[in-house]
């Protein structure tokens, strides 16, 4: 590890050193090394990348087969006192269905010996569940269950908050509220680790991103650096315009355009500097008097970025 290594932070509260986890013959994490400190960090990766396994290992729910995990200075698996500092919002929908949200949050507060008797009500209010807090959690929608789990996590006032796909099932308003909440918690100096397989979601949430693919660390840094890595890779851009053929011919003069094909009034250009094309395209179209109706990348999925990062 070097001081400039973007996978590590200087004031780490969560440190993973060559962590490997496997389930029988299936390897879930392979010598993963990184650290997390105060602020919001995103854990990004496609489905099955090992994000959930990593988060469960961080909280101590899963033992690591080799390597070392330290959270708040202790081993989350062996040192029960460390659990005072950690909270997890898991991805799965498992909740004790027959208890109410209020009962669940009070229970978690009791387990952690939260002295502030008003903390459970505040946690429920923070996630907007106060009005329905006496309803059985089993009858909640997926988004409400997630918010119940967020309230249960917040009531313990944790230093390290591990959120596995916390926005799943949330409606747009609640999604925005939760993003604001997580950012505020990070700004307060807590270590907030959020996993997602949606890049733009992580961009809104996290200042720093760790990309995990096939159980390995694939990239780390600011989301801008990850986005730049995305911009610098070869990609195809679809352009719909009333003069697509003329426009494609003009774009071929640019150094950043490697090729073009035209069919049925739409052009597909190949570029390895998408940002340059994004700047030049409107200017050229305006100069030629061509009206653009649609411009979109054809392979801008997170999976395509992941494929590039591991190539």
């Amino acid at each position: 590890m070097s001081a400039a290594d973007p996978a590590f932070v200087p004031d780490a509260t969560v440190e993973a050193t060559e962590v490997s986890v496997w389930f029988g013959p299936k390897v879930a994490l392979t010598e993963l090394s990184c650290s997390f400190g105060p602020g919001v960090a995103g854990l990004l990766g496609p489905n099955g990348a090992g994000k959930t396994t990593f988060m469960r290992a961080i909280t101590g729910l899963l033992p690591v087969n080799s390597g070392r995990l330290r959270v708040a200075g202790g081993d989350p698996r062996r040192d029960r006192a460390v659990q005072r500092s950690i909270a997890l919002v898991s991805e799965d929908e498992a909740v004790p269905g027959s208890v109410s949200a209020r009962e669940l949050v009070h229970y978690i507060a009791d387990l952690h010996r939260v002295a502030d008797s008003g903390a459970p009500e505040r946690a429920l209010a923070t996630v907007g569940l106060l009005d329905v807090a006496d309803r059985a959690v089993g009858k909640f929608s997926k988004g409400m269950r997630q918010r119940t789990k967020v309230a249960a996590a917040l009531v313990t006032d944790p230093d390290v908050l591990v959120l596995d796909e916390p926005l799943n099932g949330a409606d747009p308003v609640q999604r925005a509220n939760l993003i604001e909440l997580f950012r505020r918690l990070g700004a307060e100096g807590r270590t907030v680790i959020v996993s997602s397989h949606v890049l733009h979601e992580v961009e809104r949430l996290a200042d720093r991103v760790i990309v995990v693919i096939q159980g390995r660390l694939a990239a780390a840094g600011s989301h801008r650096a990850i986005r730049d890595a995305m911009d610098d890779r070869p990609r195809q851009v679809l352009i719909r315009a009333d003069g697509a053929r003329r426009l494609a011919a003009a774009l071929l003069d640019l150094d950043s355009v490697a090729g073009a094909s035209v069919r049925d009034g739409e052009a597909v250009i190949a570029t390895n500097r998408a940002r340059d094309v994004a700047v030049a395209l409107p200017r050229i179209a305006r100069e030629m008097g061509i009206r653009l109706t649609e411009v979109r990348p054809l392979d801008d999925s997170l999976e395509s970025l992941f494929r590039e990062l591991v190539r």
Partner: protein, 256 residues
Amino acid sequence: MSEQSEAEARSSRARRPAIAVTGFALRACFPRKRRWGLLLPCAMAILFGLLARTDHGTASEGFARVADHGLFGLLLPIACLVIGDAVMGAEVRAGTLPFTWLSPVPFRTIAVARWAAGTLVAWVTIVPAFALAAVVAGVPEAAAAAAAATVVGACAYVAVFVLLGCATRRATVWSLGVVLLGESLVATALVSVAQLSPRWLAFAVFGGLTDVPSDLVRDGLARGWGAAAQLVVITLVCLTLSGWRLGHLRVSGSSD
């Protein structure tokens, strides 16, 4: 704060999580459907009491035979299996155990508190049902013995099923295996295995506290309070192992 009052406050706070775990288990692990399900063995116990009246021997002999095969041989293990699985195995399978696991509460406290919740439910349901069965059978003098044997038998059984709940992925299958193969087959043949069987020991407690026909008395097994002491030991061993096992559990989610 003085040292004494600080210690008192700490002690008071120390009790809180254990009570919380027990209380939560009582609410979360016994939804309405399961509560109704527990009434079934209770009703069957009363029916077994009635069945004892059809025995050709004396009322006490008839009840002793029904207690051996029906109450302690069938209903006690099945009811405790449902209860023990509810407080541990079902939570592990459903993926809801992390709510309790992810806390500073020591694992042994979690294991004991879950066991306490299960045992409490067993005491409230099957203990009165078994005592009532004795009354219905026409041997009210055996009601106290039936209740006492059920109290200690339920303690051990729930502890065994709590241990299986956190030690195996298919706790229900393993628990049924222990009851049907271990106790009904192997322990019937081998008295050394019966020494570890809550079913045989619970009946031995009953047999030691009241009169039972000589053919129901099993040689090589302690009777009465001696058998009860053995059940207590089994309970303590299972709870110790459960606490250890919880600390080594790979806690997975419902989607895993």
